[in-house]
Assembly symmetry: D5
Homo-oligomer: 121 residues x 10
């Protein structure tokens, strides 16, 4: 399993300002937990940093760790959201996973994390 | 007629979070009920799951069941909306059907389902 | 003049739900009332049906009836809006006409119809 | 200087409705007031007419009158906004000028006019 | 370091109106502070001028001064925001930096400046 | 099986000139002979007519007859080529089938027909 | 019927050089001779002039004369080719008509004219 | 190592005709033999079959077998070319690999196979 | 009239090699000699230099000199071809002018220059 | 000056086959030798290797060495061609440099290298 401890951070250079950082990884791949077939996605991490920012190279390594994992679209999106939320404690965070065609379908999953876990909006 | 019982579900992996799942089927085809000519559409299912998520392969089979059905654009969009609403009981649900050119026209039908059927907004 | 009586309707298959129907005609053509030169447009009809929906083939015939009419962009857009509003009595209705390049210009006219004619918003 | 008297109008065919008219001129050119080099832009006029609409051929002539004028991006956009506002007295009006690449830059200037000149929003 | 004194201004030609000026520089390049590899970005400056506008040629020179600087995406975006805010004292200002692919990632950083520095929104 | 007798012809209006006619059908669908899953393709018929041209509506009906046939990409392309060659006896003929994504693959099959069947070129 | 006498010419400004002139008309429309439905095409005239060039405004008027003609794709393309060949006596000439979607098909017809009518190539 | 024995074949349905089959795989991924970083490519197999055609599902499995192989762009392209040439003994064969951006570069490698290995063209 | 003496040259840095230089000007504008309306084109100069190359800034000034000239598409293309041929004496030269939409038409004129003026090919 | 000794090579994995390798660098930048302004280009290296292939990371470093060089489009393209020809001694080699807009112009320079320097083709 991809280990969130891979994720490195550095101090937010401008903590006095709420500004938006968006990193989009175009080369995410994991495996279907049923068939073992590879899945491909573009994953966007959009957040407002509080004390720390995520270091880009470690984020890449964290994503690469899913390469041979069998995991569903819905589960992996929520797990990335939970891992980055726990590691960065950001002011705001959203994860958007956009999956390439599989059986005539494309899929997009969008999950948001908030400092205080809201059970229901 | 496409039978909603084809639709399989699996437990929502993160029911504590309202997150958006969007599946777009690029290969929907049915027949015009008047002329028998084939119609082609892209159908998007966008929802916030409550207890269950729809299983993608069964959703594909449900859509394929319309292949030789004669049905109007407006009717099929509402029927998919009703079937998925009844089967998933989601927190939110929208169906968008986008139809290829027919006689110089393209058409888009957008229907939303809500837990308590609102008669009029 | 294009006669709104050409427009056929059929009963709304789901009157209990406010859903959006959008038909886009890509082959509208009329004539400039000054020069007689042909104009070309894409016309979008976006509405929420009440009791009836417009039948697509009759809508096409209604649009074709403008082929040899001399009429301004602003006038034809409002007239289509008035004709469809009167015929369908929809819950909401918008007409968008998008005109191809003429003398280095493109033009878009957007008119909305409401059940009770609002004189000024 | 481009003379706003060039601008011709015709009566609004549907003054009882607030509808949006948008004309986009793809062939605007003026000169840089410093270097004399030609500048190229797409100019959009978006408005809700009150009593009169602008006649398209005269709008083209008005724009052509800038061909050999030396004027800054910011100034020409505001001047077109002032001239059309004064001539049409519309319910709403916006001018958007979109300038082609100059020294590695593209620029977009957006100005709005309102019936009562608001000094500050 | 890029010196904000390079930035030249000229008087706002229409200070009575709040209008939006947007300059997009397509040729920004700096260096990665860790590896020394070149980074490439498109930088957009979007603002509502108060008393002065930024002169485009000086803005280009200011951006060129980063060519051989080693600086992080987050830091350079905030610094441009601070420099332009201090120099122009605009009514509103946003800086958007859009970075080309690096290791399978693209990134977008968006920072806003306000007349009174808001510590937290 | 799609019956080539469906294909109607009309006399070539200009048999004294070798000119190229190309019809592209964007809505071809058949079934995978192994899995029964629907396949979707764009089929192009490019030919130089001799005595007769193919009538477009009958060509559409001929293609629609494959809707519920189980047949491989390579086989259907060659069969369309053989059927049209036999029916039209054209001076030249090529069939190009371009298949939508299936399991991460797209496919294009191109077959040419010549008046005298060349065994090997 | 569109009368080739509408076509005006002017002397070739550089008859000592074989250079290629290509005019593409984006607004051609005629009628289907069977159903009366409008057809839409882009028509390209590509030629090497000998003594005369075709005047663009008259070419437009010649094309407009087909607006209410019922004529097949193959026939109209050959007729335009014949008319322009007879009128211009060019060194080389090709007509390409590219027809918008009709019943799921797009079509392209390409005819070439040569100074000495070749019966068969 | 990806084993060419995975590749299944079926009899060419039309061996009397030289026709072109092109399969493009959009989801190829292998590893850099130096850094272990994932590489992504689109691989096209274009061939004229002799006695047998390649079965698409087995071709997919053959490509998937490279997922965790460390191999250079040039080497993998030639190896796929050799494996498919040996297995299919086609009349003609070309392999085109198109690699996604890596360090600011994209790469395309094109190799052709011929029945009798030509040492030098 | 645009004076070819504006054109500056510099020595070809590699006269021992036949290599292709292509400059495309995206901002050409002249006037219609009949109506005085502005025309807009993209002009490409493609050549193999012999002793000298054209200096880019002077080429821009030469093109700008047509801004207020009334001249036909065919004539201006041939004149640019003659002027550059005479000034550069290149090994090969082609001028391609691509004109924006005018009355529903776009036009492309392509002229080639050769060291020894060929009267007819 | 960029030193061709930076270029590293590795043995051609398939010297018995003439296959095409194409590397495109999307991030080339150098300086104008007159004004000192930065220029930006995409550089393509297309070659058929003989004994050695160029190592991609060293090619990147070789291109980066031009970052602060003042050099003309024509000169830099020929120099890259000469350096790579001398270092790789390939069977065929072409360099294509595609320069971003500068003063309304884009430029493309294409140079080919051959084992025996042909003085004139």
């Amino acid at each position: 399993m991809a280990d969130p401890k891979i994720l490195q951070t550095f101090p937010n250079p401008q903590p006095g300002r709420d500004y938006v950082i968006e990193h989009t990884h175009h080369e995410f791949t994991s495996l279907c937990p049923i068939t073992g077939h590879p899945d491909f996605a573009t994953i966007t991490v959009r957040y407002v940093a509080d004390r720390v920012c995520v270091e880009l190279k470690s984020l890449k390594q964290y994503f690469h760790a899913y390469r041979n994992e069998g995991i569903f679209f819905e589960a992996v999106t929520n797990r990335i959201c939970d891992d980055l939320g726990a590691r960065l404690r950001p002011r705001r965070l959203a994860i958007i996973s956009d999956w390439k065609a599989r059986g005539g379908f494309t899929s997009v999953i969008t999950a948001e994390w908030t400092p205080k876990a809201k059970q229901r909006r």
